[in-house]
């Protein structure tokens, strides 16, 4: 199935395969050739996930879908939903937790975002987006805590509505906002290392070894309060969701170079994974790229990268 063509294109990345099969570009064209067309949500989507070179299983789970909500009397609203989870908990528990959390979050969001649209006009308007996002994460948190008490997972989701993106986030998977030549991290890692850097108690280099202690993760602790943020998503910009298997191995500057050089978002994702593997590939690597326009238009902007180092 091609995620850019189906009305509701769901693709869940499942584990264990050493490499994702290449995703064919829409229409008849071969991958790598003059590329993808935007899907019904106006976005071009690429994704890739790989267990890396050291570990024999993939504890990451991710999901991308896009569609158009068009209804009489309302302007059509392009929607994109991107979810990434990086599980932990040893053996199969981590991958169960991440896959379970991604499914629960996505089904809650799609149900509560779309179904109210089909109800009668007189009903109350749509629920606040932040409530939807928080509820979805809270439900997943409770379900994971109950079913897999020893496991946990990061959970990062980006909901594109029209020309903006709503992000909810726990853990240290990241959302970047990019355009040609630059990339900026929008999320804040819930790791002790990031916290030490924020406090000015340590430099990013000093804490590189500690980055894998999370103080907030889905399925851990009594309650959960995700970070929630919003950003405009303009034409020519893209969202990059990735786990620490990518950002811990590939510098932001290098990510920009790889993405700018790729003929399609899907190939960009594969190239990012390949680069992380070249740099060691000690962890699972997952990437989702959702672009508003491709190839990325040139921008007259100096390269800016976020505060986070790999």
């Amino acid at each position: 199935m091609n995620p850019n063509q189906a009305l509701v294109a769901l693709r869940q990345l499942f584990k264990r395969e050493k490499r994702q099969p290449p995703v064919e570009a829409p229409g008849a064209s071969a991958p790598g050739e003059k590329g993808q067309q935007p899907g019904p949500g106006g976005l071009l989507i690429g994704l890739a996930s790989d267990p890396g070179r050291v570990r024999d299983h993939n504890e990451d789970a991710s999901l991308a879908c896009q569609f158009m909500m068009a209804q009489q009397g309302r302007p059509p609203l392009p929607v994109g939903l991107f979810v990434m989870a990086d599980g932990m908990g040893g053996h199969a528990r981590g991958e169960q937790a991440s896959a379970f959390a991604v499914r629960l979050v996505a089904s809650h969001l799609i149900r509560h975002l779309c179904l109210p649209m089909l109800e009668e006009e007189e009903a109350a308007g749509p629920a606040p987006i932040n409530d939807l996002l928080e509820d979805s994460i809270r439900l997943a948190h409770q379900a994971v805590s109950r079913r897999l008490p020893e496991a946990g997972t990061t959970l990062t989701l980006a909901l594109v509505l029209g020309d903006g993106v709503h992000i909810a986030h726990v853990g240290d998977s990241r959302v970047y906002l990019g355009q040609r030549g630059s990339l900026r991290c929008l999320t804040r890692d819930h790791s002790v290392a990031a916290r030490l850097v924020e406090m000015g108690q340590a430099s990013p280099e000093e804490v590189a070894l500690q980055r894998n202690i999370l103080y907030k993760a889905l399925g851990q602790g009594p309650q959960i309060e995700p970070d929630i943020l919003y950003h405009d998503l303009e034409n020519g910009q893209y969202l990059l969701l990735c786990c620490d298997g990518l950002w811990g191995k590939v510098s932001e500057a290098r990510m920009v170079d790889i993405i700018d050089a790729a003929p399609t978002p899907d190939i960009a994702c594969q190239d990012l994974v390949a680069e992380a593997n070249r740099n060691g590939g000690e962890d699972n690597i997952s990437v989702i790229l959702a672009a508003r326009g491709w190839p990325l238009p040139a921008r007259q902007m100096p390269r800016v990268t976020g505060a986070h180092g790999p």
Partner: protein, 645 residues
């Protein structure tokens, strides 16, 4: 706490065998995988009930059958060792054995005695002294409010005694997991320190994996360093949690200083707070050198015990110390002939304000001396708007007036079919305002000619906000509208079902507005999609003020709220003593707002601490403004006040 290493991710909660969160269950529901009642272990311990379940097993209440003449109750702590990962399995057994060995070597009235240790099948068991009581985290959860300082200090002193004992062992034992969940309060008031599952015999310079409970653990423990002063940090964190009822596991690590104890619990003395903050010092060197030293400091910090200490007495003390009003004297006041509901505006040293005596006043902002007044034929609730050489104001006589600032004479007026209580806004040479005739007007600011008007289904008292080439406002018909600024065409509308008298503020992508449905809304300004809503306990007629990443708004429930602008989560609330219909203003880290309690309140913006209040002779629905270190506000006592900000 989750410890992840590049090659292996694991959750420490797998090592956590001691969570005792489940209330004692009757036999009706048997938690999965636990031993059923009447199971007998080692032909000696008869399981009576499950006391709690954790990640790796359960804790049971059991009877020791060797004592046939009496009922001797013991606690059976189980570790069911079924982790498929052999490394985890080994780690689990190691921890369990370590707990057994450490407990066997200790003897202290606040540490449970260990009677036995054995394995059956793939489960291992500790037989421990049964403690009648409840863990402090469960008690805190039931209570849902902070504990008083006397109780907490009393418990902390008991814990210091245990820690001093542990740390004086040779070699010292580091508990490593001090938190309310590991402190049991017995019915006789004694604190028992339970769960030595990760306690560790201290070896100098040794580094290990991070282990402990996120939120309570000291910073060095994340680097694998476990030493006695880490337990003091965790005790400080535990006291902080008990005294504030703010769970540190829900906050980023090492942020206790951002939640000052006395802000949440004014009954705590500054001295006790200082002791706790010293225990919570980031640097090990800055903490107390030992548990004994911390106990001494706590003892000294506690106010001298009164002969009778009742909880009532503590509360009374809290009220007295919570607010220290500064003395505020007005720089000047000016008395009108009726209520001042309008809010002041200042330009070029002149203050303009409307009054229910029908006049718009122009006063000298420095000394309050009268410049001129302009009479209309109705009361003025609207707030003036200054545009070039004009001041614009709506009146309950149904007109909007443009008045020359220099002469105080009318330039033009624009009549509507209802009272004009909405305040005008000028943008791109047009003035936008609402009227009780349900219309929003766009008027040429030079000529006073109506360019377009938009009809809603209820009076419009909200003051429009112009951004993104749209005009945003609320209507008493319950909708929030976004109109095209040029044509007056509806771009979107959002229904709140109750009247919207509050005026919107737009900052970045969000529009903030209150409604009589009790909510403050954050709507996506371009599309009208609700991003969040924040519930207060009363109508929100006050208009939000946005400053930095916060939105401040008052509610008829009597509180001023600070809400995170992006997430809509409450940051603090301040009890203003009466309905707040005044709109807050923020200057230099201070929020100013009027209240129906008759006062103007100055509240510290970061944490919501009251700085001072100035009591006028009547309710203050007027919204203050701050210019050059002076806060100006009107009151229903007919006066306009200028107070040092």
């Amino acid at each position: 706490m989750v410890k992840r290493t590049p090659g292996e991710r694991q959750s420490v909660s797998q090592l956590d065998t001691r969570r005792i969160t489940v209330e004692e269950r009757p036999t009706a529901t048997q938690p999965e995988g636990t031993l059923p009642p009447h199971t007998i272990l080692q032909e000696r311990y008869e399981i009576l009930a499950v006391q709690g379940v954790g990640g790796m097993g359960a804790v049971y209440r059991a009877r020791d059958l060797r004592f046939s003449a009496v009922t001797k109750i013991v606690a059976v702590k189980e570790m069911s060792n079924v982790a498929p990962d052999p490394r985890l399995r080994r780690l689990g057994i190691q921890n369990f054995e370590r707990e057994a060995n450490i407990l066997a070597s200790l003897s202290h009235p606040s540490i449970p005695k260990i009677f036995d240790y054995f394995s059956e099948g793939n489960r291992s068991y500790l037989i421990l002294e049964f403690i009648e009581g409840q863990a402090l985290d469960d008690l805190l959860e039931e209570r849902r409010q902070p504990y008083g300082q006397e109780e907490v200090v009393d418990w902390a002193l008991q814990v210091c005694d245990v820690l001093a004992y542990l740390h004086s062992q040779k070699p010292p034992v580091i508990f490593r997991d001090m938190k309310p969940g590991n402190l049991m309060l017995r019915h006789d008031g004694r604190i028992m320190v339970i769960d030595f599952g990760i306690a560790k015999v201290f070896e100098h310079g040794q580094r290990g994996t991070m282990i402990g409970t996120e939120g309570y653990s000291p910073p060095e423990q994340y680097r694998g360093v476990a030493e006695p002063r880490g337990d003091l940090y965790a005790l400080g964190a535990t006291m902080h949690h008990l005294l504030t009822a703010r769970d540190p596991r829900l906050e980023p690590p090492f942020t206790f200083h951002e939640r000052p104890i006395r802000l949440f619990n004014p009954g705590v003395s500054p001295e006790v707070e200082a002791v706790i903050m010293k225990a919570l010092a980031y640097d090990v060197q800055d903490r107390f050198a030992s548990a004994v030293e911390m106990a001494q400091a706590l003892g000294n910090a506690l106010p001298r015990r009164r002969p009778v200490t009742t909880s009532l007495g503590t509360v009374g003390l809290a009220g007295a110390t919570s607010l220290m009003p500064q003395e505020v004297t007005p720089k000047w006041t000016f008395t009108c002939e009726d209520e001042v509901r309008s809010s002041p505006r200042i330009a070029d040293g002149v203050l303009y304000i409307g009054c229910y005596d029908n006049n718009l006043y122009a006063l000298d902002a420095r000394d309050g001396s009268f410049r001129w007044k302009f009479p209309t034929d109705g009361g003025i609730a609207s707030t003036p708007c200054i545009y070039e050489e004009m001041v614009l104001i709506g009146s309950e006589d149904g007109a909007l007036y443009a008045i020359s600032r220099r002469s105080g004479r009318k330039v033009w007026s624009c009549a509507t079919a209802g009272c004009v209580r909405s305040s005008p806004r000028v943008e791109f040479d047009h003035v936008f305002f609402g009227s009780d005739d349900a219309c929003l007007y766009a008027v040429n600011v030079q000529s006073g000619r109506v360019v377009w008007k938009f009809q809603s289904a209820g009076p419009i008292r909200s003051t429009p906000c112009i951004a993104n080439e749209m005009v945003y406002f609320g209507s008493d018909d319950g909708y929030i509208y976004a109109l095209d600024m040029r044509s007056g065409e509806v771009k979107w509308k959002y229904c709140t079902h109750r009247r919207v008298t509050s005026s919107p503020a737009v900052e970045d992508h969000l529009l903030y507005i209150g409604s009589a449905d009790g909510h403050l809304y954050g709507l996506h300004a371009r599309s009208g999609w609700p991003v969040w809503r924040f519930r207060t306990g009363g109508y929100v007629l006050s208009s939000p003020a946005v400053e930095g990443d916060r939105v401040y708004v008052g509610s008829v429930d009597g509180c001023l709220y600070a809400v995170d602008a992006a997430s809509g989560r409450q940051r603090w609330k301040y009890d203003a003593g009466g309905a707040v219909t005044s709109s807050p203003t923020v200057a230099n880290g201070v929020v100013y707002v009027g209240s129906n309690d008759g006062a103007l309140h100055a509240v510290e913006a970061q944490q919501g601490r009251g700085l001072w209040r100035y009591v006028t002779g009547g309710p203050v629905p007027s919204s203050p403004i701050v210019v050059d270190g002076i806060v100006y506000v009107g009151s229903l006592d007919h006066r306009v006040y200028a107070l040092p900000a």
